[in-house]
């Protein structure tokens, strides 16, 4: 089993059965997983900020408006079928309780990712967002099982394992 770390502003897609895509300690960032309903293909993006405002350097995916379309392209390139994609969101916490408005980036991240998904007509099948705790997400590619662990908590299933059909 190989764990691929998806760090701040990174994204990854895989159709390799043993792969697990991981983002450790998501705070205000969003871990966006895209999974194929039928095939063993999945992707994960670690979204840092909601909107590039057109100022992002090329090849960087920390903004929701760049990360979401790029992740869709990557999972489709890895063999997923575009109409069969579902989304799962984890993160977007408000880490600091006595906080300036500018730190409420978690909520803005979630809203931006949801807007991008809606524009792409991809439904969100599960989410664990908001609150004040950091979270780790693991996406098991073969089964599309998705687990979440909150700070100080135990890992639990957010999306249970799904059987994979043979690729057409």
């Amino acid at each position: 089993m190989a764990e691929t770390m998806v760090r701040m502003g990174e994204l990854a897609a895989s159709a390799v059965a043993g792969d697990v895509l991981v983002s450790l300690g998501l705070g205000s960032c969003i871990g966006l997983a895209l999974v194929d309903r039928r095939l063993g293909v999945a992707g994960l993006a670690h979204v840092v900020l909601p909107d590039s405002g057109g100022n992002a350097e090329p090849g960087t995916f920390k903004f929701a408006d760049h990360a979401v379309p790029e992740l869709i392209d990557r999972v489709v390139a890895a063999g997923a079928r575009r109409p069969d994609l579902d989304a799962v969101l984890v993160g977007g916490a408000s880490m600091f309780t006595v906080s300036s408005a500018s730190l409420e980036v978690g909520q803005r991240n979630e809203a931006a990712v949801r807007d991008e998904l809606e524009a792409a007509r991809i439904r969100v099948i599960a989410s664990e967002t908001g609150g004040t705790r950091g979270r780790t997400i693991r996406v098991h590619v073969a089964t599309r099982r998705i687990t979440v662990r909150e700070a100080g908590g135990v890992e639990h299933d957010l999306v249970p394992a799904m059987p994979a059909e043979a690729a057409a």
Binding site: R7, G25, R133
Partner: protein, 194 residues
Amino acid sequence: MTRYSDLQLDALRELANVGSGTASTALSGMLGRSVDISVPSVNVLPMADAVGAIGDAEAEATGVVLGVVGDMSASVLLLFTPSDAAAMCGFLGVEAGTEIGDSALMEIGNIMGASYLNALGQMTGMALEPTPPASATDMLGAIVQTVLAERAGAGDIALLLDSDLVVEGSDASVSFLLVPDQGGVEQLLARLGL
């Protein structure tokens, strides 16, 4: 990727050195104990690498964050391991993990942040003010990423001025980080004529 010259990095390290020296004196006065400082490190690295450079993303930590306003935008972040938080609170006669323990750590952040920024302001001629502190006890990665996200802007490079302060005769230490945004770094260097 934005590059800084060795001369610029040396100058930033020297600023961090004087800043953390002043902050250690303030911490020492608050705790009534001597405080040693490490030679600060200046890390310029891709944002994706920044958390790993600081520590284990899933390790528990207490972070105290202060905003910096005025002539430069930045964040000050103090990081305590659970045992450091317990020891620091112990020196101040309060219990870690309680509301009063959190407020003691925030007060440490306040005092150290204000003195660090004061020293930085005097060296550079900048007006710098800390905003009130906030704290969180959580996964290290979640704390650091949230601070970096706020300072990231359009850039993909994180610049971290990192100093460790150790209370003499104990294992208690605190990691003190100044995280300027990209414009903030250029401001600092411009004031130094670099």
